[in-house]
Amino acid sequence: MPNDNVLLLLNSISQRYGNNTVVHDVSFSLERGDIGCLLGPSGCGKTTALRCIAGFEHVQSGSITLANKIIASESVHIPAERRHIGMVFQDYALFPHLTAEDNIAFGIQHLPKNQRKKRVDEMLELVHLREFANVYPHELSGGQQQRISLVRALAPRPKLLLLDEPFSNLDVALRERLCGDVRDILKQEQATAILVTHDQNEAFMIADHIGVMNEGVIQQWDGSYNLYHRPKNRFIASFIGEGVFLPGVVINDHRVAIELGVIEGEFESPSPVGTKVDVLLRPDDIIHDDDSPLKASICAKAFRGAQILYTLQLPSGAEMLSLVPSHHDHDIGEPIGIRLASDHIIAFQSDH
């Protein structure tokens, strides 16, 4: 039974180039109005997957369905220009010989003139660049080019919008601001979109659902909270957020013993009693408490404004991270009291 709310469905897509499998058995679906994200290190296959959806790559196996219609499979290939899928490129790919206005109008030539004009104005208004209507791309700043390329893709009201690393050419401060702006714009236009990025903060800020990819495989398709707090495997656990693994032993199905004591909580993937495991501890799982009898000495610190990230060393030599409010300013070498604060256990079977 097709679900009417599902706009995009990828069913087991695989792509190989020679002996190199770039995308392996990728499946996910996206509902109307949702923003999805493929997140992963460079070379993980996320851009190839995106280009398959866009129609710039021919799908070798599996199928892609858009609004209940197959647009790509081994035997079907609707050309990119007839998929009604918009795309924002990493280098923006604005047409250098056209003004901002004409760039936006490029994809809506079929509209009558007054409607076209209205849509272009609407788009310029959306990104607050009305006064730049007659300016050529090379006269715009990076952030302005990025926004023009976004509304150029949105102007024809595509069924789906793809964004390929759209923020990677911008500096950090601008990147954060634009991320928020872009999410607002997409929601305002009720667009369904997929973002490709290697930057998890971007993914967290924009996306409703995130697929973390590695070596051509989607490791976990989930919301940001779950990716951080309930990673399904070691790769996700170390790729998303910060943290360290400490060795431990399973006591029962809601307790694990580690050097710091016993963690109690919900066990994400229970292992048999007595199994040696590596337990993930996030910096926010370790709380600084002067009264705690448990001590660890500081071996490095990084000031982060509101907080300080301490790297702590336990007597055994194992290191871990703790995020502490910034007025608790301690010196390197100083022992400080710590306490475990974790309501769930993330542990993976130890390799050794």
Binding site: M87, F106, G107
Partner: protein, 543 residues
């Protein structure tokens, strides 16, 4: 499925078509080179002996000293002026920065005849000195030193332009790094800025050497025999085409060595590019004495390389206003129509090569393009001989064939413009190729893809995206080739149809008779045309 097939098949077919066209173009370039090299491989003993006994040694030593002197002179002049205008600050720097390029508009043979006319025994300088009763023994202007000085003044802008660009993108920043490491600005220049700019300077110098080896007009005015004049004389005085091609084959070997050095310098330029200039850089403020010296130095060069020759030309042109007649308009018309024809052909060929370059990045295509754009290094007389020999051969065969059918007329291809156009197109293809290719590179793959994702493909993409972006490059290419053809002398002189005299040919004829005044009017016309690309370059740089 069928539509998909159609699209990809069409793309494959057309790109093969482009490649085929690229192969044909590079064959056209290779043909004259091959013809000339063939004559090196099949020497005719009698001619060789004659050349060896009477000519070869003189030509080699003349060429050697000319290249050496011109290289040293352009190097010193070009690099010092570039450093001053790119990195230092002194009164008039902004004006000198572009004005020092003006000599590029004046063909070397024009500067040459003005210099000879000025300093000759009967020229205005020596005459007025004699009138004042001063009997000075003046050094002979038609000497080795004379040619070298004229060529340095005509060709230093190549080194200047390219070194200025290198210095202004990296000079000051590198110098600051050196200063922070304890070097003075003088030692920083020699230890850091100069070595960093070396690939650029070498590239510019190789262009100078190519121009020196290719020069025909200047050495003719000075009666200084080099390979180019040797080729001309062998062909048109001794009527020995084979002697001409033997000489050409020696020259082409020298040119190949220069091409190899230049290509290596270019490859290194790519790898050491520092990137964009970060905003306005603070310049080195020259101290008062130094500043006065810099201003006088730049003014002096500008004066002798451009202003004095121009003023003298205008004075002469005014003396012979009666020459401003229908014959003058014939020359002008011939020059303009030849330039128009050549530039249309060059631009068409350049578009084909640039498109092939875009669709095929494989080694074969890159080699084809490299070959096709080598013509800029080949001296005009070499190309003239190399294009004439095969055309004459084809003509001969055609005539034999047609006689069989009762044809009684004369030669078909010789005496038409075809030889001249082939040689000119080969010579200036690179000039047309680089702006067009540069513009086409701006159309990245993602530009095509974003057009497609907005529903625009095929011919509509060509019309709405590719052609408009290419327009600027095509215009630049057209102008540059047009002006270069107008300035060109040896190919036009040696391969023109009978009576088809252009402005440059007229300059040659008048100067070879020592009638400087009568050469002035066509020369002024050529210089005016030559100013166009410099103005274009300048307005482009200011944007």
């Amino acid at each position: 499925m069928s539509k998909l097939w159609g699209l990809s098949q069409a793309i494959t077919f057309f790109s093969h078509g482009w490649r085929l066209a690229a192969i044909l173009i590079s064959l056209a370039v290779l043909m004259p080179v091959m013809v000339i090299l063939w004559s090196l491989l099949s020497p005719e003993p009698e001619i060789w002996q004659h050349l060896q006994e009477h000519l070869l040694l003189d030509l080699l030593s003349n060429t050697f000293w000319l290249v050496l002197g011109t290289s040293l002179g352009t190097l010193i002049l070009g690099v010092s002026l570039a450093w001053l205008t790119a990195v230092c600050e002194f009164p008039g720097r902004r004006i000198f920065s572009w004005a020092l390029l003006l000599p590029l508009a004046v063909p070397a043979y024009v500067t040459a005849f003005v210099a000879v006319g000025l300093f000759d025994y009967t020229g205005p300088i020596q005459s007025s000195l004699r009138d004042m009763g001063l009997e000075l023994t003046f050094p002979e202007v038609r000497s080795r030193a004379g040619v070298i000085i004229v060529m340095v003044l005509a060709f230093y802008p190549y080194v200047y332009l390219i070194a200025r660009n290198a210095f202004s993108t990296q000079g000051k920043r590198a110098l600051e790094a050196a200063q922070s490491l304890g070097y003075s600005s003088t030692s920083g220049f020699f230890r850091v800025a100069l070595p960093m700019a070396r690939p650029w300077i070498v590239g510019g110098l190789m262009l100078v050497i190519m121009e020196t080896l290719a020069d025909f007009g200047t050495v003719s005015v000075f009666n200084y025999d080099t390979f180019t004049t040797g080729i001309y004389k062998a062909w048109f005085s001794l009527f020995s085409l084979s002697a001409a091609s033997q000489l050409a084959s020696i020259l082409i070997i020298v040119v190949f060595v220069i091409i190899i050095i230049e290509q290596q310098a270019r490859a290194r330029m790519r790898y050491t590019t520092v990137g964009k200039t970060a905003g306005h850089q603070e310049r080195i403020q020259l101290k008062k004495g130094h500043a006065i010296f810099a201003t006088s130095f730049a003014s002096f060069i500008l004066l002798i390389a451009f202003i004095i020759p121009m003023v003298q030309l205008l004075i002469w042109a005014k003396e012979v206003m009666q020459d401003f007649d229908s014959r003058y308009f014939d020359f002008l018309f011939h020059s303009l129509s030849l330039a128009a024809m050549a530039s249309v052909i060059v631009v068409t060929a350049a578009i084909i090569l640039a498109v092939a370059n875009r669709y095929y990045s494989d080694i074969a295509t890159r080699i084809l393009i490299r070959i096709s754009t080598l013509g800029y290094a080949l001296p005009g007389p070499v190309l003239a001989v190399g294009a004439f020999i095969p055309i004459a051969w084809v003509d001969d065969k055609l005539l034999h064939g047609l006689k069989f059918f009762g044809y009684e007329g004369g030669l078909l291809l010789q005496g038409t413009m075809i030889t001249m156009l082939i040689a000119l197109v080969v010579r200036f293809l690179a000039v047309g190729f680089s702006p067009i290719d540069g513009n086409l590179q701006r159309i990245t793959q993602s530009v095509d893809e974003s057009a497609r994702s907005l529903g625009c493909t095929g011919l509509s993409m060509l019309r709405r995206i590719h052609l408009p972006i290419l327009k600027g490059g095509v215009f630049t290419a057209m102008t540059l080739v047009f002006v270069d053809v107008m300035k060109e002398m040896p190919i036009t002189l040696m391969t023109r149809p009978f009576g088809w005299d252009t402005l440059a040919v007229r300059v040659f004829e008048m100067t070879s008779e020592g009638e400087w005044e009568r050469a002035a009017l066509p020369a002024v016309t050529i210089v005016i045309a030559g100013l166009i690309p410099i103005i274009m370059m300048n307005s482009h740089a200011e944007r």
